[in-house]
Symmetry: D2
Subunit: 426 residues, 4 copies
């Protein structure tokens, strides 16, 4: 394998032959199992890294350089010395039949392998940089996906959907109805492979629960009469493109497209999960700060007919049955909404960013936390992750830039008056 | 403009907004005249270059680093410090409507400007590197161009043809006849814009003059009966892609395609101009080495009825009328063929490469110098550049790699026995 | 409605306006329920039929005509008088948005209505003739259907499949695997709507049971190594095109296509149901001719442990459980195969044609009855219709014409030696 | 040949085989010269016509029929007897590779042959009827033609343009500029072959001369600001579709399309030639009615300095030089405009229709005669046909139906007040 790699790197027999050889090597890679691939990565990481001596020499040459011209030349040499030779090989794999997809999938393998072998991280950095250039958002085409799209593509949506599982082709068809839209980014050299897709419902009023959207029997709305576009699912499809983000671009291009096509639309909002709420809540309930007012606590315990200490709420939520007990649902409702608002809008990680990953994404995009929806997702995972709550993030077109800057600059979480009120005093 | 650039580089308002701003800046650029563009380049070159202090600091940090992990981090920092911030702006232009074409054309402007302002060269290096990544040959599609292709595309062939001018749509149609093939490389994000194209004739026997190929009245050959494919014209279309070569790939992919489609084909050869022959010859005739045998010289002078010193041949060739004087044509024939062979196969530039640029290209691709064709191009430019001679380069499929390595390694020019014989003793 | 129709027929306001009016009428038709549509048909049948007086007059004029020229004119008049005016209206519906599909669906309605109202038959004849012209096989495109085809098209296959129900998208995907082919006829003015499709398996040896083909877990065959193409399902999709046949053309074009693409293929055969076998058998068992040899009858009864008269076999087959009783299966096997061969190859309807409709179709196409497959279809419907038997019809390319002529001329059923032997003495 | 035809008509070997045989026959036809084709037509006309005896018998059977059912059957038989068997053969040709185009071209041949052999007219009637069914306007697609269309298609525009010759590719490109539109009807089974096309200019105000439109140097108009669409050329492309008209449909669909796309458009008008004016004028000047007032006549003669009788005007117009003599142009201007108006709006042929064929077409479409344009076409043919005059026909959207009915019913020519005034007293 080293001989093959060396021949590729030396462009032996000319660039065309070297590419053919790289393609062969790529096909050999595909024949390897996980272990074999890890070995291949280790080889690239170890043997085809930059040459530290050459870096030192180039660095010394730069220090010794005199005059601007000489310094420029020295800097170019130094820069070249910092690019590992393996990058040339990775690029050559692009000449495989479906070369771009090959490299994306190779990076997925590499990410897995790198979790256990930190020495692969620089190699991953090289590959990520290569893919970042190739997947520049300017190259991507936004495609509308309908039930007239190839079945093989639709099947991929079913596989990749990461937010609300697509249970059947009938479910999928419902999500592609005349009052729905589904858009994806496609790369011209990776035909039939969505990179990321978003599902949108055209509705009247801001939807407050996901079951209404997923109900296959619900009547269709006239999309030209709808006043609100709800982004209810956004899924990345290519594990190998982790860290190469384009969700922000997709949402905004979809907003543009829909605004033009449906001038009636007044609001663009998400209906989003709150994936980290319960994890935070459970920890916080164990902490010193009393999260519930005494009266609340008392009422909840009374309703739940349980008498064990401060665990009350936590224990209740651990048993999904609570959501079927109308009194209990009523008792926990207000405190949970308040805690949800606090979690989203006030709780930060050590780097000062919101704890919730979905919140981070939309806030960084310039959206604001708009409304907490009680019982917005009564599915098993909805109850487990967020006590059944969902949240709307609102994209107000003329505030997006300002919100983004406030968020990025001062870490400010922009929220609706309602949410702000819920957080007052925190 | 600086404020705009700064906002783009800082991704102010988020990446999406920054792209929109870059696109605006790009449109402003398009409104500038040559001077304005040169000023814009100068600004980028001067103000958005790498920061030498940061390079020094990063370099020092690397020297100070201890342990592998620390060194890796330091190297990454150093590498980052060597990438000028303007590269981010150039990338953002990709979000313009026809962004890739925009950048290719911008580079054409830049190359022009850099001829007079050497301080733009590093900027050009940045842009070239960016384009080299985007135009990786793995992304290119080979398209067959026929008379059913869009007229707007065919019009571009007429504009871009660089070897044998296309004089009219009728001439063009002749070059797309059933016994011709025309292939180009296209980039998926630059629709309708050929990058490079090659014209091929399917014939019997190795064609020895271009007039037969360009004769619109010549009868068509059955392409399935043809034994030889003649590559008679290859033209680059995008000035902004200078230095990003894919001619080698195009030729070899065309050879592959034709071999599969027409199993009868036995030979693949070019019919090429010898653009630098007369320039070299004129210089050499002025030199000390006698290029002609005495008898040859005498015969030529006698035939030309002229008596002035060693200028004889040079003066004759300076007057294009010589090609109509049968006796004279006969008299100079043998010596010129010999000198042509010598020029192509023996004469080198200071870096040890063949003098002729077309020869350099095909030899580096692994072809060999096959045959000199007397009166192969009697056009005005043919007579002026190469005394009417043309040359066939032969691509022998099983010798290409070997030839390339010999050429690249030892600088060896592989030639047919006939050509070698002509060069004997040199 | 009459006023609208009259305006259309008179091309009032010009042909363009008349078409617009017809389109409006068409949309009104779509708003009608079954009863309304039947009334519309009755109106067309009654009021827009040919004018018998005009026919009489034209007929008389022809008799009175003198000289060839006059006679020609008279014949043209007579011919015109025999075309009902409603045909012009039907044609105008073609200008509806999806006009061709509209008319095809209208005919499906009409066929239903005509079952109860015989006076609609001439109207149906008019519409059929119109569609027959529009669906001339020369206009149809043969499309290969794969899992990359639009999901909306694939969903139609699921709906239209008439032979072996497609149970799920997974079943469908199996039928589009790399060793399968599915082809359909499409009409250029009815995009996304298959007219008829055929499912083919590329296998080794002539498949003798359908379960092997429908088994989603069965390994795929290398299609280039397969020696036999099995046509295992052919379904018409458009009820409104009844009587406009193109199955013959589809099969033969698929045979052509596959022969070219897979030169390894030696045999083209069907694996077909025998839908009328049990119906015939039940009747025949009630008849006077003893269908079973005495020994056979005895063995069957003994195995079945039943003792009631000649009903033995019939009663056995009426209870699908028989197929799970190995001894019984063995006992009835030989007699049923023999009777199956007789049913297919010897039994005729009053017009002298084979009783079995599928047999009629393939025999008329020039195929021959090749082999009866015991337990070829153990599904509930397979047992009910044909006692679990299936049949292969073989298309021998160089005998198709001869077979067809023999069948059409003398009503001869061509069969394999094996089948002929089974029928000996009949 | 008869044997081949008979085999086709008998569907010998099955419909598929018969089609193959017909295709073979079609290819043989293509190998015939004009004489051979004429013989082929004569054979079809003579030997494959309807059978007069069968017509007589069917006619008698109808007279003898009793009861409605019997009569219906008899009528169907009679109708069948009136369809010549050759129609089946013609239909079968549709299975040739480009079968539709084959039949269209065959009809062009037939029309030529029928000019000299009247006995071919019924055969032509059969073929026309077949093509009329296949080219129903509901099947046609309106395509916009731009400079991005295939060159082979654009070349056909150059060939087919019948009104204002396209002189070069540059001229063509001018006609496809951003302020122009070109639309054609295409048949899905005749790809790459326009049936009819129309050229439109988007302008401000109703254009009064064609030179402004054909001027390649004229600046482009912003099409979104234009208030008028001028149809300045409409050409049929397929001689074999004579009598199968769709010009009316094309114009109105283009009007629809442009209205939607360019809401600024207020008027839709043609700029049309007056091809028959001079022919009529010359005859009329020879007639008894004095066309010119005495004063006019005198002035013209004086200006022309000629003194010979009533020929004055005629003789002047016969010499194209008159158009360069400013005084003369002024002298004839008013009388010619008046006579032009009269020719278009008052002069009728024996069947009561306007003399001018272009006028007939647009008036029947529901347009009105709007304005005569003096010196609208100074080209050689413009001067020869219409003394340099052109005419605008105006399509007023809300009057088209009324105009058409008035024209078709009472033969009324609708004209603008200006034109009516010019015709006063006639």
């Amino acid at each position: 394998m080293r001989r093959q790699i060396d021949a590729c790197l030396a462009d032996r027999g000319g660039a065309v032959s070297a590419r053919l050889r790289a393609a062969e090597l790529g096909r050999a890679y595909l024949g390897l199992n996980g272990k074999g691939r890890a070995r291949f990565f280790a080889l690239l990481a170890r043997e085809y890294d930059i040459d530290p001596d050459e870096v030192d020499k180039a660095s010394a040459a730069l220090r010794a350089a005199e005059g601007e011209a000489e310094r420029r030349t020295a800097r170019r040499r130094l820069r070249r010395s910092l690019v590992p030779p393996r990058v040339h090989l990775l690029t050559q794999f692009n000449s495989l039949d479906r070369g771009v997809k090959f490299l994306v999938d190779m990076r997925a393998d590499l990410l897995r392998a790198a979790r256990e072998q930190p020495e692969l991280r620089d190699l991953d950095g090289d590959l990520q940089e290569l893919l970042r250039g190739w997947f520049d958002v300017g190259f991507l085409e936004m495609a509308q996906i309908t039930f007239n799209s190839p079945a093989s593509l639709l099947e991929k949506l079913i596989d990749y959907e990461a937010v609300h599982e697509i249970r059947s082709w009938k479910d999928l068809k419902n999500r592609l109805d005349s009052d729905r839209r589904c858009f994806s980014f496609m790369h011209p050299n990776m035909p039939g492979e969505p990179l990321i897709f978003v599902e949108v419902a055209l509705v009247n009023g801001m939807t407050d629960n996901v079951h209404a959207l997923l109900d296959e029997a619900a009547p269709e709305v006239d999309p030209h009469a709808a006043d609100t576009a709800i982004f209810y699912s956004i899924s990345n499809c290519q594990a190998g493109l982790a860290g190469v983000g384009f969700g922000d671009f997709l949402i905004k291009r979809v907003v543009d497209r829909l605004s033009q096509r449906f001038p009636n639309l007044k609001s663009f909002a998400t209906l989003s999960p709150i994936p980290g709420f319960r994890r935070w809540l459970d920890g916080a309930l164990d902490g010193e700060e009393p999260l519930l007012a005494e009266a609340e606590d008392r009422l909840i315990r009374a309703t739940a007919r349980k008498e064990s200490g401060h665990q009350g709420l936590k224990a209740i939520l651990d048993d999904p049955g609570w959501a079927d007990d109308g009194d209990l649902v009523e008792a926990v409702r207000e405190p949970l909404i308040r805690l949800g608002a606090r979690y989203l809008a006030r709780e930060k990680d050590p780097r000062g960013r919101p704890l919730d990953p979905v919140a981070r994404f939309h806030l960084n995009n310039g959206a604001r936390v708009e409304r907490i929806n009680w019982m917005g997702d009564r599915s098993e995972s909805g109850l487990r992750q967020s006590a059944g709550m969902m949240v709307n993030y609102l994209y107000k077109l003329d505030e997006i830039e300002k919100n983004h800057e406030a968020f990025r600059g001062e870490g400010k979480v922009v929220a609706s008056p309602q949410i702000s009120r819920l957080c007052k005093g925190l």
